[in-house]
Symmetry: C2
Subunit: 358 residues, 2 copies
Amino acid sequence: MKLNIAVLPGDGIGPEVTAQAVKVLKAIAMEYNHVFTFNNALVGASAMDATGIPLPEETISICDKADAILFGAIGHPKYDDDPSATVRPEQGLLGLRKTFDLYTNIRPVIAYEDLLNKSSLKIKQIKGTNILIYRELASGIYFGEKNFSNDEASDVCAYKRTEIERIAHLAFKAAQGRKRKLTLVDKANVLASSRLWRTVVNEIASEYPDVTLDCMYIDNAAMELIINPCQFDVILTENMFGDILSEEASVIVGSIGLLASASIGNKHAMFEPIHGAYTKATNKGIANPIASILSAAMLLDHFGLYDEAALIREGVDKSLKLHITTPDLNTKYDNISTSKVGDFIEDFINNPDETNLN
Amino acid sequence: MKLNIAVLPGDGIGPEVTAQAVKVLKAIAMEYNHVFTFNNALVGASAMDATGIPLPEETISICDKADAILFGAIGHPKYDDDPSATVRPEQGLLGLRKTFDLYTNIRPVIAYEDLLNKSSLKIKQIKGTNILIYRELASGIYFGEKNFSNDEASDVCAYKRTEIERIAHLAFKAAQGRKRKLTLVDKANVLASSRLWRTVVNEIASEYPDVTLDCMYIDNAAMELIINPCQFDVILTENMFGDILSEEASVIVGSIGLLASASIGNKHAMFEPIHGAYTKATNKGIANPIASILSAAMLLDHFGLYDEAALIREGVDKSLKLHITTPDLNTKYDNISTSKVGDFIEDFINNPDETNLN
Ligand SMILES: CC(C)[C@H](C(=O)O)[C@@H](O)C(=O)O
Ligand SMILES: CC(C)[C@H](C(=O)O)[C@@H](O)C(=O)O
């Protein structure tokens, strides 16, 4: 298969982790005789530093021509110092999501057997957790009208029925291929937008009689996710609640450095770790590349390259089992760097049966 | 002291738990020669069943004349079935918060030594946690303009500078009497309203040079609250984020049945457990009354009755130590009911030195 991949490393640890994902994708291309081409482009604070704007036209054009976008991370503390600034790195990421209408963000949350003891949660609590979070990504309070003055500020959270329908169908279909349970998370006891979500999702549910639909308030979900994560199969929710829940869910997995995501539109798709730029760790070799590498696996799945994706995941599993991990996860070795983890998974792909600690 | 207390038991388990708080307040009045009078009033689904509306005029008038409001819980699943209904039980609670401008909601999160093993989190993670959440309660997306149609719905999250200032001062002052650390939780990388919060709170910080101010994004805070709760002292945040974080924080304490809150305005104050109506448990005698009883202790603190409040808290500690608790916490005895817990704490107040398991 030929794939043209736009690579947007972005800020902070973005470039280091993305480099490992590219390394792994190149190994896959080699092994399976695919032709993957990679085109780099600027986004975020690094784009602002170079061009003054967080999402340059050239980046949009490179992404538009690509089959998929591999994204790193975004943000820099220097832009947090002035909360009244109107141009911000994050607009690069939000601009991509909006421009390419990437309305479905999929975030898997899996408790890896080899990492159960790394979580802040008790092992019996999390064992077996396997959740797929479907977060609406192109609407809601992120993109509603904003007003900001010295005395008052506001954001609008608006949803159209059609915006709810399109992601709801995808979430129900995902549930059909899994444990057939869908949990809608909202705040329908307070928000009008949540009441529309509940109305629409309840209607659509009748088309998926094999899927059990549950509704849960966001405050309650934030608690249930910790005390009983195994109750969830697919979680469907709006943009802001999905942001909060998915980062919270990283505590189940043991490190946010493991959480991958896919952002899917009708024509475009972007793949990115859910962690941020983590500027303090930049260029120290301590950033965990697994979230980015697993995002590359989601990219391959998206194009039907299931064996290839599975091989990457096997490589990740093996790296976890053998403690070839960055310090956020490692209690055995203290000097395994970002690129060493990438190298290990690359070696595994080249030679699945022989890779061992060397 | 004379105190006129409006008692609003509300729905579900509200009446049972509130009855225990009243029992305990009566014991305190007796012991310390105070005159507490209690006036009951309807609110929520039970008010709708009786009068058609969730917050009857008579209830408002009783609360208006009272020195303090003791609130139970609100909500009933029968009103969740029709998400397009425009009259809802929750409007009773939101109406009270708005009518009496109860803008500061204070929610303590304390990891009790005797309950460390009840939490879903590892003991070493939570030991020593003592957080005070300051949640803005009278503005934000809860009270902004709402639109609802079959095709589209929206909510507005708006904040005025003055609304941020008044709670921020209270939060800084609270931090001064504690570990002198304040964490502002917002989403300033996306929301205009959050950027105003950050601007205003940063400005006010200069008046409290002895307090260290930290800013954290809500998604990150939802994770940090679990992996490192001890880093927090006072958390300050807007209405919706406070709703989510405070319920999530219950996992640290071990049961949501332990979390009390105070909602303070300039003229009025309301005290309520943070748990909801939990309709399924109604009249089974299994509802944990401690959150309501601790809310009564916050009521006494509010009027400067610190010794009285401390005595209630001692009674609660003793009930936890001796396993005189409802089934949500109890692994030793399986038949300790809601009212037995209330009785135990009442007995303790009457006779602090002699109460033991009997
Ligand atoms: C960087 C930020 C704008 C972004 C979001 O809030 O969506 C991030 O937290 C994420 O979850 O992808
Ligand atoms: C019942 C509901 C409206 C309420 C809220 O969202 O504020 C509750 O969750 C709370 O936290 O007091």
